[in-house]
Amino acid sequence: MPGKQRILRLLARGQGYVEIGEMLGMPPGRAYLVATGVPADGGDTVTREQRERPGMLPSRSQRLVNPREVNPSARGNVHQWMRRRAWSDPQMRADAGQAR
């Protein structure tokens, strides 16, 4: 099992947890846990002091263990549907035209 210091040294060389995980044959989230003592998935409370530990990511550490995140926030077909609804309403367009 690779130790904390080894992972911190690799981090200091500019490598990320994903690369380190691949290099050491371990999941990146586990590399984060070994390096910081804090689970990457946010499954524990992190104190202010812990935030200062070497190797801590300021945010989004859960991406190391939850890489396949699904959170779409826009859909083209809805945009098209809105336009279709607006364009099929002659009164709406006529009054908008008058206002212009």
Binding site: G43, S59, R60, A86, W87
Partner: protein, 1084 residues
């Protein structure tokens, strides 16, 4: 194949022989552990979601593998929950994937003895048939000569775990069908909040947000068991405490909230107005109010008419009371120089002459229209900046609360003066320019016959102390359901259209312009009501809505009084209401007088129940309590019952609006299996079928349904409507189909579409703003890029008040929003809740209208006068100032006034709904104890989402009642044994929990005992028990029509309740002994 090594599994051997000599990890891991993979690690995807239980709105990660949900955990990115989930949230994997869910449609024919399985398509056609037929048979074009264009034969009641998009389609379709009896859990839960906060500040939502509690210097939790009912949100109270805040818990019971507070104040149930009134008295008497704030930002200086008479003058009545109709005329409560436009004057008089006579429209839920916009006023109020005029609000307030002394607080509430003094000291010492205090409450305040006034009392106090609109201040309304705020905003409520636009009444609003003129003030943002209404009508009726036909305003059915869920029960009993749709709601357990709810359903022609499991509201005809007592017989019940399995939150997309007005999107993780479908699916396809059936009809009653815009795109195996398209319609678009970014862009000429004006902006730039999830660590505490809050993504409402009249922060420590002279704009941490370019020194010209009529020192921009209302000249139908009245059923006389109970309360005398005698009168002593009902951490409301979940039922397996050792001794109750609790309505049994957490209160020379009862149980599920609501009566707050279930009187005795017909005899005997008749407890 590897060779078997006999001793290899020994950890010590692995440690000594392998590379991990120090035994730090690999060596001590067993083969089984090594071969096990975490469900989270092997998931195909992690779908972002939101917990469907309470309204804290904890973010969830839903792990999916092989198109199955395999795990649900808290999302650590959330600024609200920071990755935490409570026991219910943590059990939501079982909620969504557990074996308790039903996945097939069931049908019970009239007089049938059991369920039959039928196909989903067939069931949908049958329900469409029933709706069309009932609608035709009960259609009413007019009543008393006024157009109503509606059916009173159909009603709906929804739960508050419905998505906003689902509520939107329910309201849209049913309204187009002419149904007016559309109600929601929001009625029975927090409708008093909408009235109380809305009339005081201009909006009916919590004034602050969960995370801002950390900045409080003092938090008073009253009417709430915050730590147990909203556990994850409570972390912010603990953050405040860690920073030095004083936490006070005022509650009849000592709970985990009390244990974590600095001070617990036991109080008699239902007496909070006296308690808060006592603090108001203390603040005024000792001049501890924040004078500059009060003078500039509240109506303290405003003069009230000389004709106004207070409860101090009329022994518990305000001027204008009509004892025959039990309602007030507001005429004498008016500002000098300004008059109320809405719900007042000639229109009401007209209604009294033409309406049903029993109750005016003032009582018909009008106060809730202030959910976003205070009462409409016209003119310019007269004021006295010296605050000395006897007619100014501050002086009236002083006189009104003059007798609410510490001694009176003790007599009414049972709170000793020294303990009360501590509360006053903490609260006042932690309020002012440098410090702020917050109040947090829940249904312990709202569910009373004067619940709106409980909320009003806290609002007055927070205004006096200068705590509204400021960091660490405010009033936190702790709503209990994932989208109960949303269910008010996009209301499935009889009296509202989306965005708190009032439903039109039959007697008054003939044309759109009359309707707008009657309700819209000339001043403030609500002056844009015509644009909001026209845009809504365009959203619903699209190209059919034109200026020539008043934008289809005539398609809206009309109200003729109260059509709340409790009025619906009465209509079911009298046979008027014949069809009922339940969307995730269980009134057979969760509504007041549960027995009456079931008896009413037994009188229906048809009933549709949509839920996860066979809840009590679906099965009462087969195994309900009245079958056992013999009051009902299965084979004699003609009600046709349809059960449709519902989709879980992981099986559909949509938005919940949490308790702080924040819309958060949850994505569909997997498709629902079997016949389970979302309510969005149900409503969309029901509407599609009905429209197909009615296609080509020339009957004018069908025009609203045929003209409806009902073309939502669908997707997936089950043709699920695209929820984001519904959200886009709610947000609105312009004539080019471009999404609108703010409600200020709405037009009244029909050139904009917007389904709910207060949500305009949630789809700005064509982006689902509710789905934004920028992690907490990357933002300040406001977290403006996490989801989206109405209005305009503001998190602290009325935040102009965080700066002094010149626009400077009251103190550096409490900076939030301020005037930047250099840029000539308001700026700060939050989105300013103010016209960003309006300088503090701006004073409107006399003829100004709309937003321009508000000055630079008017932080309450939804109020016509821009001020926080200490005194409510309108909007609260039972009085301009909160006044202590006893609950409908109380064992204690009211020492303050001749009137024992709220004179304007709504009561429903009926053979199944008898009330207790007035305290001190013969028979009252039969019910000598106070009862309060409450929620447990491990269960959820009427149990439909918790009593079938093994994790949760194991944690809380059985109904119990909490009693003090003194009460146990007095009545011979044994810890762990059984007790029977009785009222005039029914009797229940519960296990006895004898605990010192229940404190006997000493007041007015007597000892008052209180009984605590969780209300989650019913006869179905893994954990079964009697429902606490068997005991409660239907007696309502006249503003909000909410039921009183947080305070009632009862008797308790050892042992189990009688079974079968003996139970009804047992309760009848109690009524006889108490001398109860139809008029008992109905006195004004």
């Amino acid at each position: 194949m590897s060779r078997r090594v006999p001793f290899r599994p020994w950890p010590v051997l692995r440690q000594l022989t392998g590379p991990d000599r120090l035994g730090r990890g690999a060596a001590v891991k067993s083969r089984r552990s090594e071969e096990t993979t975490a469900r989270t690690a092997s998931a195909d995807r992690v779908v972002k979601s939101v917990c469907p239980y309470c309204a804290v709105g904890c973010a969830q990660n839903v792990y999916v593998r092989g198109e199955k949900v395999v795990q649900i955990e808290g999302d650590p990115d959330s600024p609200v929950s920071r990755g935490r989930l409570c026991p219910k949230g943590a059990a939501s994997l079982q909620l969504t994937t557990g074996p308790g869910r039903h996945h097939r449609v069931l049908y019970r024919p009239p007089y049938g003895r059991d369920w039959q399985e039928i196909g989903l398509d067939e069931a949908m056609e049958m329900v469409a048939d029933r709706i069309i037929a009932t609608r035709r048979a009960t259609w009413e074009w007019e009543r008393d000569g006024r157009r109503t264009a509606r059916t009173m034969g159909i009603a709906a009641l929804g739960g508050a775990t419905l998505d906003n998009e689902e509520n939107y389609l329910i309201k849209k379709l049913l309204t187009a069908l002419g149904v007016v009896q559309i109600e929601n859990q929001a009625r029975v839960c927090h409708s008093s909040t909408v009235v109380g906060l809305g009339s005081s500040f201009g909006r009916g939502g919590a004034t602050t947000f969960m995370q801002d509690l950390q900045h409080s210097d003092c938090i008073v939790i009253e009417g709430s068991n915050f730590a147990e009912a909203h556990p994850v949100g409570f972390q912010w109270v603990m953050e405040a405490k860690a920073r030095g805040a004083v936490v006070i818990h005022v509650d009849p019971r000592y709970t985990r909230t009390s244990a974590l507070a600095d001070l617990h104040v036991p109080i008699r149930v239902g007496t909070d107005v006296a308690f808060l009134g006592g603090i108001i008295h203390h603040v005024l008497e000792n001049e501890l109010y924040f004078r500059e704030y009060v003078l500039n930002y509240t109506n303290a200086a405003t003069l009230i008419t000389e004709e106004y008479r207070d409860t101090e003058d009329l022994d518990g009545l305000f001027s204008g009371f009509n004892a025959d109709t039990r309602h007030y005329d507001f005429e004498t409560w008016q500002y000098q120089g300004m008059r109320v436009v809405a719900a007042a004057g000639d229109r009401d008089e007209d209604y009294e002459r033409h309406g049903e006579g029993r109750r005016s429209i003032r009582a018909a839920g009008r106060g809730e229209t202030h959910g976003s916009g205070g009462a409409a006023l016209e003119g310019t109020p007269h004021s006295d900046p010296t605050l000395r005029d006897p007619h100014c609000v501050l002086q009236i307030l002083k006189r009104h609360y003059a007798r609410y002394t510490p001694e009176m607080v003790e007599r009414v509430c049972g709170v000793p003066p020294e303990l009360f003094a501590q509360v006053c000291r903490h609260l006042t010492e932690n309020s002012g320019p440098e410090r702020t205090a917050a109040f947090a409450y829940a249904v312990g305040w709202t569910q009373h016959t004067d619940g709106s006034q409980f909320v009003r009392a806290a609002s007055i106090l927070q205004l006096l102390l200068g705590n509204i609109g400021r960091p660490g201040g405010g009033i936190q309304a702790l709503r209990g359901h994932a989208s109960i705020q949303g269910s008010s905003d996009i209301p499935t409520l009889f009296n509202l259209l989306p965005g708190y636009i009032p439903m039109p009444h039959a007697h008054e609003h003939e044309r759109l312009d009359d309707f707008v003129r009657a309700d819209a003030p000339g001043k403030g943002y609500w002056a844009g009501m015509r644009a909001y209404t026209v845009s809504l009508l365009k959203a619903w009726w699209g190209r059919a809505a034109t200026p020539g036909n008043d934008f289809c305003f005539g398609h809206l059915p009309r109200l003729t009084g109260s059509h709340s869920t409790y009025d619906t029960v009465m209509a079911q009993l009298d046979g008027t209401c014949k069809g009922y749709l339940l969307f995730g709601e269980n009134p057979a357990v969760g509504s007041a007088n549960a027995r009456m709810q079931r008896l009413a359903m037994a009188n229906l022609d048809w009933l549709v129940v949509r839920d996860f499991t066979l809840i009590e509201s679906a099965t009462w005809w087969k195994d309900g309590p009245e079958i056992e007592t013999g009051e009902l017989a299965t084979q004699a019940i003609g009600t046709e019952v349809f059960f449709f399995p519902a989709a879980a939150h992981t099986e559909k997309s949509g938005s919940f609006t949490n308790t702080n007005r924040m819309l958060q999107w949850h994505h569909q993780a997997v498709e629902p299996s079997g016949d389970a479908r979302s309510d969005l699916w149900f409503m969309y396809h029901l509407g599609r079928i009905i429209r197909r059936r009615l296609a080509g009809s020339t009957d004018p009653m069908d025009a609203p349904i045929l003209d409806l815009t009902w073309d939502y795109p669908t997707e997936g195996r089950v043709a699920e409507p695209v929820a984001e398209a519904v959200l886009a319609e709610i947000n609105g678009w312009d004539a080019e189909g471009r999404p609108l970014s703010a409600y200020t862009a709405l037009k009244d000429d029909g050139s904009t579409v917007c389904g709910c004006w207060i949500y305009c902006g949630v789809y700005a730039d064509g982006v689902n703003q509710a789905a934004r999830r920028k992690p907490v660590e990357e933002q300040d505490w406001i977290a403006a890029e996490w989801a989206w809050a109405w209005p305009a993504n503001r998190r602290v409402l009325y935040n102009r008040a965080s700066a002094d009249p010149e626009g400077r922060p009251w103190s550096e420590r409490k900076r939030l929003v301020w005037w930047d002279r250099a840029t000539g704009r308001w700026t700060g941490h939050d989105v300013p809740d103010f016209d960003a370019a309006k300088e503090p020194g701006y004073r409107p010209p006399p003829d100004a209208t709309g937003v321009d009529a508000l000055s630079g020192i008017d932080p309450f921009i939804m109020q016509s006068d821009g001020k926080g209302w200490l005194f409510a000249p309108a909007g609260v139908v039972d009085g301009p100032l909160p006044t202590h009245f006893e609950p409908q059923d109380s064992p204690v006389p009211n020492p303050l006034y001749r009137h024992q109970r709220n004179p304007a309360r709504m009561i429903y005398p009926h053979e199944h709904n008898r009330y207790h005698p007035t305290a001190g009168e013969p028979g009252a002593a039969i019910f000598p104890y106070c009862v309060t009902t409450y929620r447990l951490t491990e269960h959820f409301t009427a149990g439909g989402m918790s009593r079938g979940i093994p994790y949760l039922t194991e944690l809380q397996p059985e109904l119990f009642c909490e009693v003090s050792p003194e009460l146990a001794a007095e009545r011979g109750l044994e810890h762990g044994g059984w007790a029977t609790i009785v009222t005039a309505r029914n009797a229940i049994e519960a296990r006895v929990l004898v605990t010192e957490r229940m404190t006997p209160l000493r007041l007015d020379g007597r000892v008052v005992h209180q009984i605590g009862l969780p209300f989650h149980w019913g006869s179905n599920g893994l954990s079964r028990g009697d429902a606490a609501n068997e005991l409660s009566s239907i007696s309502l707050d006249p503003n909000s029509h909410i039921q009183e279930v947080k305070a009632l009187s009862a008797d308790i005795r050892p042992g189990r309740r009688p079974r079968g017909p003996a139970l009804t005899e047992f309760v009848r005997d109690y009524r006889l002994r108490a001398g109860i008749t139809g008029s008992t407890g109905t006195e004004v």
